[in-house]
């Protein structure tokens, strides 16, 4: 305690408090550790050391300059003013994310699109909800994490490219953290809002409510959202069968503030989707259900070097059931349920020391993924055909992430980050293990990997110009499917995929650069990133193997290409023409090749969008054109065909009525006005997208 002795009284007291809290933390952690593994205690000690170091040297004054971060943030908005910024406030989260130049969505229907960051899909990216790791329970990626929350829960989505997203886990392409709404203590009292919406194209009905209450030391936020949609119609009024869905999402967050700088918060999300059609796939989903819970403790020392210390324990469970009973002429009826349970925690401290703004994040999770397949033979006397497609794979992950953002001078800053993680997999089911041993006779039931990440970024700001430059290295472990999948049918290339437990870690060397300029009227930003990915994991056909799936083209085994390269660049422009008119534009170019100069799959062709906004008082309106050039760099080897170019036109208008402190926001618009029939490079099996759609969103809040 000598550390505290030369401090004045208040600091000492605070120090004691801090110490007490630390103990509390420890006992909470203790429980957690017992559940899994004692060796994590060592990591915990490291964190404590860090925490101690961070409180050290408290005399320094805070920097007034904060370093620049190059991340992209999509603001979805606070509940109360949800509809202020977006032309279609009750759009799905997928539609929101799509606005980013870094993100593209793989679509298998009108529900649960799979986000790709820098043209990299789920395996190579990291999607978290408030820092929590959640893993989909579907072997066919029909339930990305984004499908388990609602846009009305969210405040923003932080998109980080490449290793800058390594804070919550190992990634190659980048990370999206979906940040939830939370009332702040500035705005006390009750608040409520009702959201309703209707879309003509798929007869989608949307109904939502939000009720919030805040007093001086307590808040509770609740949110409910229900969506019900029929089949949508592609251009020329062509109905896309099996594209219906129904879902509801209910969420509650409640926090209690004590001693003015400590906050404890519990949160629950329950999401349930039923009768979800996937027109691009041979099966639909009868149930996708998630329960996502967390308990967070936040501590904000007032004048210490630690700005904020946040610790969270979380648990989530997902059940996913595929269903083919509604499809006509199924060659063989099958059930394919999957389950994914994750327990985890993170403890994250942010602080300032001289010119250093640093973050330390210790995080860990334990995931259990099981998926099985039961096939029903035509002859009812025959035994059912059963196999594990995910053989009860347990993943235990623990990582320490450190970041230091150094303010060099008023113009420039330098950011370093690094992480070291242990990734442990175990196949817990004997039948599943023996199934995989058919392919890998010498395979062990468990495998441990060390994952490293390091990155550095330099940024320079002067006279409205912002330059950024970064270099990074990162690694990831194979996903459950890539490592342990068993006859996973991919309806895109029509191959059955077999996991490969012996895969090496995939590693990426990345370089990124950005150039931005902004003045009062005009802003422009050009960002580029280049990835050289070694041991690039992808399925390769094995001609000696016979596909299991009826009508399958063959079997692919996950193997590693020597390397692959991916390059992305996007340009965003904004021009405030006058008080009322604003123009925006976006241009994105991507490129992806393997080591033999063959095209990689799911690489976007040149794409663009342009928007013209008009705003006067409470009225606003916008017209938008959005399109892709022809996809010339497609990959027939991975099942792609050439996707023709397209362009669509959207308009939206809104008006905000304010009466006695209540707000009624009415937004209406037409998407794909010309009813163009089109599909994009990321539409699974080239299913067409929505044709003309009128939408109406009404939000009433008081």
């Amino acid at each position: 305690m000598s550390l505290w002795q030369n401090k004045n009284n208040t600091i000492t007291n605070r120090g004691k408090n801090f110490f007490l809290n630390q103990k509390d933390q420890k006992s909470t952690f203790g429980l957690f550790i017992n559940l899994f593994n004692m060796k994590k205690i060592i990591l915990l000690m490291v964190l404590q050391c860090l925490a101690t170091v961070s409180i050290y040297a408290q005399e320094q004054t805070k920097d007034t300059i904060t370093p620049k971060d190059l991340n992209e943030v999509i603001v979805i908005g606070k509940k109360a003013e949800l509809s202020q910024k977006q032309s279609k406030p009750l759009a799905t989260i997928d539609e929101y994310l799509q606005q980013s130049g870094k993100i593209e969505m793989i679509k298998r229907g009108s529900y649960a699109w799979e986000p790709m960051i820098n043209n990299m899909a789920t395996e190579r990216t990291l999607i978290t909800i408030d820092g929590m790791r959640i893993f989909g329970a579907c072997t066919d990626k029909m339930d990305p994490i984004t499908s388990y929350i609602e846009v009305s829960n969210l405040a923003e989505a932080t998109i980080k490219s490449g290793q800058q997203g390594a804070c919550h886990g190992a990634t190659i392409g980048g990370a999206i953290d979906l940040k939830r709404n939370r009332s702040n203590f500035a705005d006390l009292g009750w608040k409520a809002s009702v959201n309703t919406g209707y879309e003509t194209n798929n007869n989608q009905k949307i109904l939502g409510t939000a009720i919030n209450y805040v007093n001086k030391s307590f808040y509770i936020d609740t949110d409910f959202m229900y969506r019900d949609a029929d089949n949508y119609k592609a251009g020329n009024n062509q109905e896309v069968l099996f594209s219906q869905y129904r879902k509801f999402n209910i969420s509650t967050t409640s926090g209690f503030l004590f001693n003015k700088n400590k906050l404890i918060e519990g949160s629950i999300i329950y999401d349930k989707a039923t009768d979800v059609g996937y027109p691009a796939l041979p099966m639909d989903v009868s149930l996708a259900e998630a329960l996502i819970t967390s308990l967070k403790f936040e501590y904000a020392p007032k004048s210490a070097r630690i700005d904020k210390w946040e610790t969270k324990l979380y648990y989530n469970t997902i059940t996913h059931r595929m269903d083919d009973t509604k499809r006509p002429a199924v060659p063989i009826h099958m059930d394919m349920p999957g389950w994914s349970d994750t327990y985890g925690f993170y403890s994250k401290a942010k602080g300032v020391l001289d010119k250093h703004h640093f973050t330390a994040d210790l995080n860990s999770f334990y995931n259990r993924s099981i998926a099985e397949m039961t096939m029903y033979p035509t002859d009812p006397n025959e035994n059912l055909m059963f196999m594990f497609t995910w053989p009860d794979v347990r993943t235990f992950y623990g990582s320490l992430f450190l970041e230091d953002n150094i303010v060099l001078n008023t113009n420039s800053s330098l950011k370093f980050s690094g992480s070291l993680a242990n990734h442990f997999n175990k196949v817990a089911d004997q039948l599943g293990l023996e199934s995989l041993q058919i392919f890998y006779p010498t395979m062990k039931d468990s495998k441990s990997r060390i994952l490293k990440s390091i990155s550095s970024n330099y940024s320079y700001t002067k006279n409205g110009f912002v330059y950024g430059f970064g270099l990074a290295y990162g690694e990831r472990a194979p996903s459950v499917s890539e490592g342990y999948g068993f006859y996973l049918f991919n309806s895109f290339d029509r191959y059955d995929y077999i996991g490969n437990p012996g895969l090496k870690n995939e590693s990426s060397i990345e370089g990124n650069a950005s150039l931005g300029y902004a003045n009062k009227k005009f802003s422009a930003k050009l960002t580029s990133s280049y990835f050289h990915i070694s041991n690039y994991i992808i399925g390769k056909p094995d001609a000696t193997l016979i596909p299991m799936t009826i009508g399958g083209s063959g079997v692919k085994i996950y193997t590693a290409l020597e390397y692959a390269t991916i390059f992305n660049t996007d340009l965003n422009l904004e021009y405030q023409i006058n008080d009322r008119f604003k123009a925006k534009g976006q241009l994105v170019y991507n490129y992806g090749k393997d080591f033999e100069d063959k095209n990689l799959p799911f690489i976007s062709p040149l794409r663009y969008s342009a928007t013209l906004n008009y705003k006067k008082n409470q009225f606003s309106s916008e017209i938008m054109v959005q399109g892709n050039a022809t996809q010339t760099q497609y990959s027939p080897f991975y099942g792609e065909d050439r996707t023709p170019d397209y362009a669509i036109l959207n308009i939206a208008t809104s008006y905000l009525f304010v009466v006695d402190g209540s707000k009624l926001n009415v937004k209406a618009g037409i998407e794909n006005i010309l009813d163009t029939y089109y599909s994009t490079f990321s539409d699974w099996n080239s299913i067409p997208r929505k044709g003309r759609n009128f939408f109406l969103n009404v939000t009433f809040s008081y």
């Binding site: 096939m375 025959e382 035994n383 055909m385 039948l431 058919i438 068993f486 006859y487 009826i550």
Partner: protein, 283 residues
Amino acid sequence: MKFQLKNIALLLITAITFSSCTNDNETPFVANELQGITKIQEITNDTHIVELYSATGSLQQGYNAISLRIKNKITNAYDKNATITWAPLMQMTTKSHACPYSAVAKTVGKETLYNGYIVFQMAENTMEHWSLTVNYTINGVAFTANKQISVPASAKQRVTTFTGTDGTKYIVALIDPVTPKVATNDMTVGVFKMETMLLFPVVDGFKVKIDPRMPSMSNHGSPNNIDLTQSIADKLYHGKLSLTMTGYWKINLQLLNANNEVLKGEAITDLVPASSIYFEVEF
């Protein structure tokens, strides 16, 4: 610490109590002799009762591992040092014939049991039946016992009889796996030829190619199967059988002679979904 000691003491007491229980209840060795086998039937003569056993308590078409023991009618004791041979015979309406069978040997680790195998290449029917003759010598005195035995058809094909391209009649029987798993199973097969109506010796130096398929699922196969070759030790043919899921599998066969010439069976292609010789497993 006190608490811990108490726990340990409690644990010890419990352990002792339980172990003494087991001692009290320990069954005599006779039950141990019959662990895992059930009586099929008895064959009686004037002096002895020959008890036949198998894992299921019955016989069926195909390969059967059979245990037996001989009980003295007078002393009720089981003989421990007999020399035994057996001779199964199928009495058909027009002719009779035997089948492949092994010698009968004392079972290792047992006091009174003897064992061997018999491959019934056909099942009984209302007109035609199998009988088993057991010949045994005890202390230099020869005895014989004979009785009809019941050999119903097996639910799935476990044995196949055919004439090879060399004009010889062969019998191929599935021995293992008895309980197939979703795994790489050890597979054992017996290959025999018909030399005479009564003599069916093991064939040496051949090869049995396997191609397991699921006819209910577009006839897909499985990887990393290993064709069967003969082992010197037991004269049977051993290989590896991969089954990637539960359900009904047809194990298509090809029999190759020492010169690698196919004597019977076809390779599976899109046009040839099944071989003319095969086994079936379902689990």
